[in-house]
Symmetry: C2
Subunit: 338 residues, 2 copies
DNA sequence: GAAACTCGGGTAATCGATTACCCAATCGAT
DNA sequence: ATCGATTGGGTAATCGATTACCCGAGTTTC
């Protein structure tokens, strides 16, 4: 079916070695041969077989990326940023979704490794259950974790400083006058979920405000709606709700307003991520912005440095987040208003 | 670096042929050899090299998918549906985004073909500019278009019946009492954009209502906001706006309400797609639902049947859409209420 | 003028898994 | 006991691109 380099060599009347050299330019050939090979290749519509090249070179020019789900805009934003970052390096991205399941995730990693990707970027879905598969993969190819990480620190990571981000959010609502606060987040299956809760608790405790029991569900709009309903049902609203991501925050604002509460007059709401959902919300959401472009750039850079199974101590690169004050919280001097 | 089947064979004390046969089970071996090979493979942590297998078998067990952008929730929904559909068939998906650029799209197709994918699913970004790359790809591997298609009908397609969908939307707002209508859509670069506009115009003309000049921009929330602003600036609002997708509709509702118009009392708004944005909107959006699961299933099924370059006439499978009435339009007897 | 180099081309090995082909051993039938 | 068939194992070809290695012709150097 396909045209091979042998066909090109035959058509040009030279050996395969010359054809290969003429096409790759990795060794000199006479101008005449270069010309004949180029013409033959063009005429036959020759396209090198990347599979054969990969087998011979022991490198595929692809890196694999595994994220929990592409339905979540935060992950698609990261994926796009990584793609942009890889754009001109000649490496392609092989994208997989683990669907928030450690089993699926392990299977995906297996097939990516079988396809001999040159490196992996992963946001492990579960801080504990993802450990064996991720460590195993890291032993075989360069691997960088992004956003989420596995416990124990066996692999490099780049992400946002979650605790600092939550501190910004909590301090902001307190500066706006909040005396009672609550956290609406996700069950503690990921590092992000845990760090955001602990960042919240630590800052709130230090500030001495009243802290209601956290509402932990999923990183989804639906859970935000449900969390809002529970707050309304409880009879007494806190002055502020700090959310673990924007989807939760958007759902929460929706259900609070639906229940008759005014945002931000009765309750201030702050989200986390700032990836599009935030400006779409009504009113626009105050949130903590993740530096997605920097994270992607850093992840790609790190991946280039890492050697598989290198016993070098794992790095953790935490980038500082930034507070973006919009209209679901009362503005104060601090923070950026947009 | 990697453990090969030669290593396994040596460790088990058999030939590579026996090792391969024991592992694949494609020819009988004695139980004793099967046992020794299985043990050796497990001990060495043998993992077959998919690149070598692909070269030898001339098939990679992957299909490529190219969509305009993964930022658009409609495309991520289709991608997820295709992934689910492929789940248990042992084929993996290689996902690429063309970023709405025919050049990028052509490059992506080239690299997918170089990697010898067994098939392609594509939503071509431009009805004209995408033609050569798509036809060329279709000549080399089985290819199915999804949602969008290129003009001229050189390749199979599966999608929603866009014109029928728009007819549903227009008839619905007219049944709700609208006497003047306008279409907010995208510039006519894709088949969807064109068919939705023509479906709108045909139905509106037949019904004899007043039709304002269409607002054509992009399939984005931002364009929806802008379109709403233009309607407000024009001084006189139509009774209903029918949009080419939900993102436009959501943005439009936002800016209409921001400008003081009531939805649906002053203006009815209907979207298209129904992929999550719709329920998130405030108020929840009336829209036309695309049968994404069916489209994905049909695309995968079709891909299995198509042979590359087969001169069989191209098929177009248009699945009927369904109207979902929520709260941005006045309910009438017809349609499904949710 | 011969030894040492350079230049550029061709042959064949290589990557790893699969399998066509060959061969020896065993079995059943006559 | 002999012949054909069956069973199962091993050797080496194969997929396509790259490149180590070799070789001959032409140049340079003393």
């Amino acid at each position: 079916m396909g045209v091979t380099i042998h066909d090109v060599a035959r058509a040009a009347g030279v050996s395969v070695a010359s054809a290969s050299r003429a096409l790759s330019g990795r060794r000199k050939v006479t101008p005449e041969i270069a010309e004949r090979v180029a013409r033959a290749a063009a005429e036959l519509g020759y396209q090198p077989n990347a599979v054969a090249k990969a087998l011979r070179d022991q490198t595929t020019g692809t890196i694999g990326m595994v994220v929990p789900g592409i339905g979540n805009p935060f992950f698609t934003t990261i994926v796009e940023a990584v793609e942009r970052e890889l754009q001109n390096s000649g490496t392609d991205l092989l994208l997989c979704a683990s669907q928030y399941s450690p089993q699926v995730e392990a299977r995906r990693l297996e097939t990516l490794l079988a396809r001999r990707v040159d490196g992996l970027i992963i946001s492990p879905c579960d801080i504990e259950a993802s450990v064996p598969a991720v460590l195993d993969a890291a032993r075989r190819v360069p691997l960088v974790q992004v956003d989420r990480y596995i416990e124990g620190g066996g692999a490099d990571w780049v992400g946002v400083d979650d605790e600092a981000g939550l501190a910004l959010a909590v301090e902001h609502v307190i500066a706006g006058g909040a005396r009672s606060v609550v956290f609406a987040g996700s069950r503690l299956e990921s590092s992000s979920a845990r760090l955001r809760l602990s960042g919240f608790e630590r800052t709130a405790a230090r500030a001495g405000v009243e802290v209601l029991p956290p509402l932990l569900g999923e990183f989804t709009l639906e859970w935000g709606v449900e969390a809002g309903r529970r707050l309304l049902d409880a009879g007494r609203l806190p002055d502020a709700v700090v959310c673990a991501n924007d989807e939760i925050a958007v759902g929460l604002v929706r259900s609070l307003r639906f229940g008759g509460a005014r945002v931000p007059e009765d309750v201030a709401v702050v989200g986390f991520d700032d990836v599009g959902h935030a400006t779409m919300c009504d009113p626009p959401l105050s949130t903590v912005r993740q530096p997605v472009e920097e994270m992607a750039a850093e992840a790609v850079r790190l991946l280039g440095q890492v050697k598989a199974g290198d016993p070098r101590p794992a790095q953790r690169i935490a980038i500082a987040p930034r507070l973006v004050v919009r209209q679901t919280s009362r503005p104060v001097a601090a923070g950026v208003a947009e």
